[in-house]
Structures are given as structure tokens and as C-alpha cells.
């Protein structure tokens, strides 16, 4: 499975387009991390807990997108985009979408 955010894969041709595939996940941060983040809000600096949380969530969104692409018989996802939206104060939705294609 090739995942990329450019529209063509150099040297490979697209045999078939299978439409858009997407994956999303909504995550909340747990209270312990919130408290640590509260301290960091005084001193400034990187919030490693949040970085990890968001990174994991994005990986999960991509994994779900790949799962959907496999289900329709694709072997690559092109033109992948990410988007984030906060739903409530404590939770964020992470969304990944792209075009599923069959490469030669």
C-alpha cells in the first residue's frame, strides 16, 4: 500500500480510480495529561503528551483510511489530506482522506 500526498506516482500508472476513502478518529485527552499541560502553561514548552496523543490519533485515522482502501481493492492512496477540528473543549477529531487507486 503506497500512501502519498502527490497526485501521481512517478514511474507508475494509475489503472483504475476507486473514489475517495477516508478515516477519522475522535480522541479526548485524559485528566492526568490535562494537569501536566496546566503546569506547562506556566513554564511554556512542548507538551509531549499531546504531541504523542495527536500523532497516535493521526496514525489511527490513516490506518482506518488504508483499511477502507483495501476493502475496495486499491493498492495505493494518492493525494492524502489531513484535517483537524475540535468538537468540544476536550476532544478533537482527526480526519484523513485521499483517492484510492489501483496502480499497475
Amino acid at each position: 500500500m503506497i500512501i502519498t500526498n502527490i497526485e501521481i506516482i512517478p514511474g507508475r500508472t494509475v489503472v483504475k480510480h476507486l473514489g475517495m476513502v477516508q478515516g477519522n478518529t475522535v480522541r479526548a485527552k485524559h485528566a492526568g495529561r490535562d494537569i501536566m499541560a496546566g503546569f506547562k502553561n506556566i513554564f511554556g514548552g512542548e507538551l509531549k503528551g499531546y504531541t504523542e496523543l495527536l500523532q497516535e490519533s493521526r496514525e489511527e485515522a490513516v490506518a482506518r483510511m488504508v483499511q477502507q482502501a483495501e476493502a475496495v481493492g486499491a493498492n495505493a492512496v494518492l493525494n492524502v489530506r489531513f484535517s483537524t477540528s475540535s468538537i468540544t473543549a476536550g476532544a478533537a477529531e482527526l480526519f484523513a482522506y485521499g483517492t484510492a487507486v489501483v496502480l499497475e
Binding site: 500526498n5 506556566i42 483537524t84
Partner: protein, 147 residues
């Protein structure tokens, strides 16, 4: 009175540790930017000379950075008068440069020499008291090209 002292204490702690952390972070960013100077990033969508490309791979970098208490207060004051909010400018600059460096690190680990179609995305994730932005997330992604 006690509240005021706590406020002053937080301001002081934020100023000292925040400045220290920012200074250290910028130094580390500059050092790593030199190290990864040979990995080029482009917002161009189509890599030139496609025949020599052997592989493409999605690479990402992300970072969440929080502002310190002193800067938050100074930004709050600035919002009364209007104008450039320097406190947030440096926060966002740090975050963007750090995220790009992490993406470059990933590209180097995968043996790529350049990254195309780089997209940057910024979102505020916590909102502190008074609906002020407490921390920002910067997420950057692109296609690493292996030749």
C-alpha cells in the same frame, strides 16, 4: 493580596523558565536546521525528473507547544491596544520550524533526499481562562522522494 503575590510569582516563573526554554529551543532548531540543510522541502506538487525516482513515501512531523504564563499575560495586554502580538509570533515560529525538522528527520530515516507537496496545518488545542490560546499544534506532511 495573596492572590496578587501568586500572580506575580507565576509571572516571574513564566518569564524566567519560558525565556530559558525558548532560547534553548531556538538554539537546538538552528543546529538541526544546519544538519538537515541538504534535505530540501518544496510546496511544488510535481517532482522534476520523474524517471529517476525509485520510491515515494508520506512523511509527517508534528509538535504541540505551549506558551508560558508571562507571554500569555503580555499577549492579553497587547490585545487591549492592538498591534503585533510578538509573544505568539515566536511561539508559532518555533512550532513550525520544529515540525518541519521532525518531518525531515523522518525523511532522512527513510533514505529520501527531498520532500514535495509540503502542507502545514496549525490548530489551537487548549483554550485557557478567558478563551486565550494556550498551546498550538503544528502538523506538517509531505511526500518524501527517494531517488
Amino acid at each position: 493580596m495573596a492572590n496578587f503575590l501568586i500572580f506575580l510569582g507565576l509571572l516571574f516563573l513564566g518569564y524566567v523558565f519560558g525565556q530559558l526554554a525558548e532560547h534553548r529551543h531556538f538554539k537546538s532548531i538552528q543546529r538541526r536546521e544546519k544538519e538537515f540543510a541538504n534535505v530540501m522541502c518544496f510546496s511544488e506538487r510535481f517532482p522534476p525528473d520523474p524517471s529517476s525516482i525509485t520510491g515515494v513515501e508520506l512523511v509527517v512531523g508534528s509538535v504541540v507547544i505551549s506558551i508560558d504564563y508571562f507571554k500569555r499575560v503580555s499577549a492579553g495586554l497587547r490585545m487591549l491596544f492592538g498591534g503585533r502580538v510578538v509573544a505568539y509570533e515566536s511561539l508559532l515560529e518555533r512550532a513550525r520550524r520544529e515540525a518541519i525538522l521532525r518531518m525531515k528527520q523522518e525523511a532522512v530515516n527513510k533514505g529520501a533526499g527531498s520532500i514535495f507537496n509540503v502542507k502545514l496545518e496549525t490548530s489551537s488545542i487548549t483554550k485557557g481562562a478567558g478563551q486565550q490560546i494556550g498551546s498550538v499544534e503544528v502538523y506538517v506532511y509531505g511526500t518524501a522522494v527517494i531517488r
